[in-house]
């Protein structure tokens, strides 16, 4: 059965192998290139802190060459799971249903559950290897440039967060199982691919918006004019009324509050503002959030796969 699954997905597996080799070579080439620039221009000390005065010229030069390339590489790695779902997951069963070859498969002496799980495993395991390998290279490269590159925006900048850690692998697993189930229900290859892609994007956006539920933001409040301590990345900030409730303030009313100290507070008080709040992420939130989000996606993937097995056993006739 493994041979059968491998033979039928040979073309996709070949594309994945080529992607791995070409993508890996490009990332390795960019990595050695940027490392050379850092060494040549003596930017070593700027990797940890790019805001030092001696770094200014070198940083501009480095970012002019590599900043956009880094963003492009991140976007390329970001879309990999979506492509996996559409091009690997969706046709997996849909093509068999469309061409009628599932009748051939189901009238041999192989059970439906084993048939499906083998097919999924033969596409999913190489997919995990591909995504993981490219992400390791991407992180190695971006990490080697540190604050000189896109990491200067912090680990919680959305592109940085999505393409580091192991969430992307979980996204890929989810995308493939979603594609399999959609293909099983739609029974047409091309519509299933489009639908799988659309649904994946929707789920990703919705669950990204729900991240504060998984790991809540840290919140601080303070008086007007105070510098609130902020962590890795500020998620939101605003004003409070005297009851401590967040309020929206007409910016026109506080435009002229330019005094300092108690005069400033009095000026704000006239506009009804008694304090301010801020929500932010700290570096310690990174791994808990990665872990919880990955677990969520893997649970969803397991549920989708179970649903696909059930549907295949009970509903495909």
């Amino acid at each position: 059965m493994i041979w059968a699954a491998w033979r039928q997905q040979r073309a996709q597996l070949l594309v994945m192998a080529v992607t791995l080799v070409v993508g890996g070579a490009v990332l390795a080439w960019l990595w050695t290139g940027s490392q050379g620039v850092i060494e040549q221009n003596g930017l070593g000390p700027c990797v940890a802190d790019a805001h030092q005065a001696q770094c200014r010229k070198g940083v501009q030069d480095f970012q002019g060459r590599y900043y956009d390339l880094m963003k492009c590489a991140q976007v390329a790695c970001l879309v990999l799971p979506a492509l996996a779902g559409a091009f690997m997951g969706a046709p997996l069963v849909a093509r068999e249903l469309e061409q009628g070859t599932y009748v051939l498969a189901f009238t041999q002496s192989v059970g439906r559950t084993r048939w499906l799980l083998t097919k999924v495993a033969v596409s999913l395991l190489p997919m995990i290897v591909l995504v993981a390998a490219l992400l390791v290279l991407l992180r190695g490269w971006i990490g080697s440039a540190g604050q000189l590159g896109v990491d200067g925006q912090g680990a919680f900048q959305w592109l940085n967060y999505d393409t580091s850690g192991f969430v992307s692998v979980a996204y890929a697993v989810f995308a493939v199982t979603l594609g399999v189930l959609v293909g099983l229900l739609v029974r047409r290859t091309v519509p299933a691919m489009a639908l799988a892609l659309g649904l994946f994007l929707v789920v990703r956006l919705v669950l990204a918006a729900l991240r504060p539920v998984l790991v809540p933001f840290h919140r601080v409040t303070g008086g007007v004019g105070q510098q609130l301590a902020a962590g890795e990345r500020v998620a939101g900030a605003g004003f409070l009324n005297s009851a401590g409730q967040p309020i929206t303030v007409d910016s026109l009313k506080i435009r002229d509050c330019t005094e300092t100290g108690t005069a400033l507070e009095a000026c704000y008080q006239k506009a009804g503002v008694a304090g301010q709040w801020a929500e932010y992420r700290v570096a310690g939130d990174f791994w808990p959030l990665q872990g919880l989000e990955s677990a969520l996606y893997l649970c969803l993937a397991a549920a989708l796969l179970a649903a696909a097995v059930w549907w295949l056993r009970e509903r495909v006739r």
Binding site: Q8, Y102, Q108, G111
Partner: protein, 288 residues
């Protein structure tokens, strides 16, 4: 249940949204026979095969293949099935298709499967998608027979084949059945070709069994009576179907040779005559 009976159904029924495709179907296919499963389009032939392979689940009654109910674990190891559309992976070569059969079945005779394809002069290196209809059928047949089954279900194996390919396919099938002693159930609506090939017949009509028996018995138990126009043959013999024209009346009756009414001539019907008469009559099921 009885593991020696290749295929047995009791009160079997299948209801789709549009109605019953198969209803109260009770039959038992004897071992070592070539069985013709005939009936008009929509009679329930494919449904019966779908139920036997577990591709479809029964609404009522039961069906058993060598004493086991078909389920989702693939078909019974002793059963092979060739679907109406002869599903094969078009991107695989013939050799790869046979290799696939070996990988997906616990019993597989690669030498035998290969010899079936080679005898049909199908090139092993050709992609299945490039083969002609006749060649595809022979490859599908090799895939079905290669697992060395004891029961082969073939759903309209001769449809979409040219006359020469039909003859060759049928010939191969009968020869393999004779040499290996397997039971072959073959659905078709081309009756003329089946006479002389099958030794058991099941006629399905409107979802139920109308005729079920050995071909020799069925032929011996029926007579054509030809008589004057505008008359019905009188006598104790039950009339299956009557066709009248200005030139005369022809009736198929269930009767022994001696019971010929006066003014009528009796002759032996062909299998096709018997089956067509029953199909036209839409009468009650009669077992020979």
């Amino acid at each position: 249940m009885d593991q020696s009976v290749p295929l047995a159904a009791a009160g079997l029924g299948k209801k789709y949204l549009r109605g019953w495709a198969l209803r109260d179907c009770t039959l038992s296919v004897p071992a070592h026979r070539v069985v013709a499963l005939v009936g008009p389009n929509g009679a329930g032939k494919s449904t019966l095969m779908g139920l036997a392979t577990g591709m479809t689940s029964a609404t009522a009654g039961s069906i058993e293949v060598f004493g086991e109910r078909p389920g989702g674990r693939g078909v019974h190891p002793k059963l092979a099935f060739l679907g109406q559309h002869k599903p094969l992976y078009p991107q695989l070569t013939v050799a790869e298709t046979l290799h696939l059969g070996g990988r997906m079945n616990p019993t597989w005779d690669q030498h035998y499967a290969r010899s079936l394809v080679e005898r049909a002069q199908v090139p092993l290196t050709a992609k299945v998608g490039t083969l002609s209809g006749g060649q595809r059928t022979r490859v599908a047949l090799a895939l079905a027979l290669g697992k060395r089954p004891e029961l082969v279900l073939l759903d309209e194996p001769l449809a979409d084949l040219d006359p020469l390919a039909r003859q060759q396919t049928l010939h191969t099938l009968v020869r393999e059945a004779e040499q290996t002693g397997i039971t072959v159930v073959l659905s078709s609506h081309v009756l003329a070709e089946l006479q002389g090939v099958c030794d058991h017949l099941v006629l399905l009509n409107r979802g139920s069994v109308q005729l079920d028996g050995e071909v020799a018995h069925l032929l011996a138990a029926h007579r054509w009576l030809v008589g004057p126009p505008g008359q019905q043959p009188r006598g104790p013999a039950p009339v299956v179907d009557v066709q009248s024209s200005a030139r005369g009346t022809a009736a198929l009756v269930r009767a022994a040779v001696s019971q010929v009414p006066e003014g009528w001539r009796a002759s032996a019907p062909s299998l096709e005559d018997v089956v067509l008469a029953y199909m036209r009559s839409n009468g009650e099921g009669v077992a020979a």
